[in-house]
Symmetry: D2
Subunit: 80 residues, 4 copies
């Protein structure tokens, strides 16, 4: 009787442990996915920032060229 | 004797379950943190994209104004 | 006889003088026209130069605004 | 007496003719100078207009390049 009772409690605990371990695995997989997602986001963000920096340099170049053009026009007006 | 054996097994299982549940909680907290981190990143990304869109509109305006200036210069040259 | 001769010479001179004075008047009218033409050109040139200077100032403004936009983009990239 | 009178008139006319012819020459030189001045102005104006047209083409190029840069930024924002 007592042996049955013990067996029942043991089975109960074993089942609960199995469920919890299974839940654990699921959580670990989710955590791993999220971490990869975050890393991937970080890489995208860096790549995006790098592209924007290239664009900023291009814009710098255009502003410089417009300033040269402006100076050429200024000299042209003064010499005319 | 058998009762002692059972008790030992039960204690073992209980301890293991406790550890696994504790590990579970830790994982759930980490998962929650990561999810909030991802959401926060997503919000920042959206805000950044919104700022960039505003900048794009400003750039459109500047290009439009430069084009008007170009047309004014063109007409001036032809009328001179 | 000598009187006729003198009269002939006098008429000749008078005619030549008249022709030269007439040519003179034509030249003075042409000169006056050319001077007005030059003045008008000078005025046009000044007006043109003034328009170009206004355009130059507009271009300065656009370059300044593009530089502000560039700085905003630069800060945005660094803060992201 | 009458001969003297004639001679006097003839001298008078000759002098006047000489003055008028001299004035004529002066006017022709001035006219020639002004015509050369006008032609020179015209050539300068053409050269100026040509320089401005080159500048207009440069400005067209810059506007085109800014528009390309704008499109690159637009695509970057949408792809991010």
């Amino acid at each position: 009787e007592s042996a049955n009772e013990f067996q029942f409690q043991k089975d109960c605990l074993t089942q609960k442990l199995r469920d919890t371990e299974s839940r654990n695995q699921t959580l670990e997989v989710q955590l791993c996915d999220l971490e990869q997602c975050l890393e991937s986001n970080q890489r995208e963000r860096e790549a995006f920032r790098k592209s924007l920096r290239s664009l900023l340099e291009l814009l710098d170049g255009k502003i410089f060229e417009l300033t040269e053009l402006r100076d050429t026009l200024g000299k042209l007006i003064e010499s005319s």
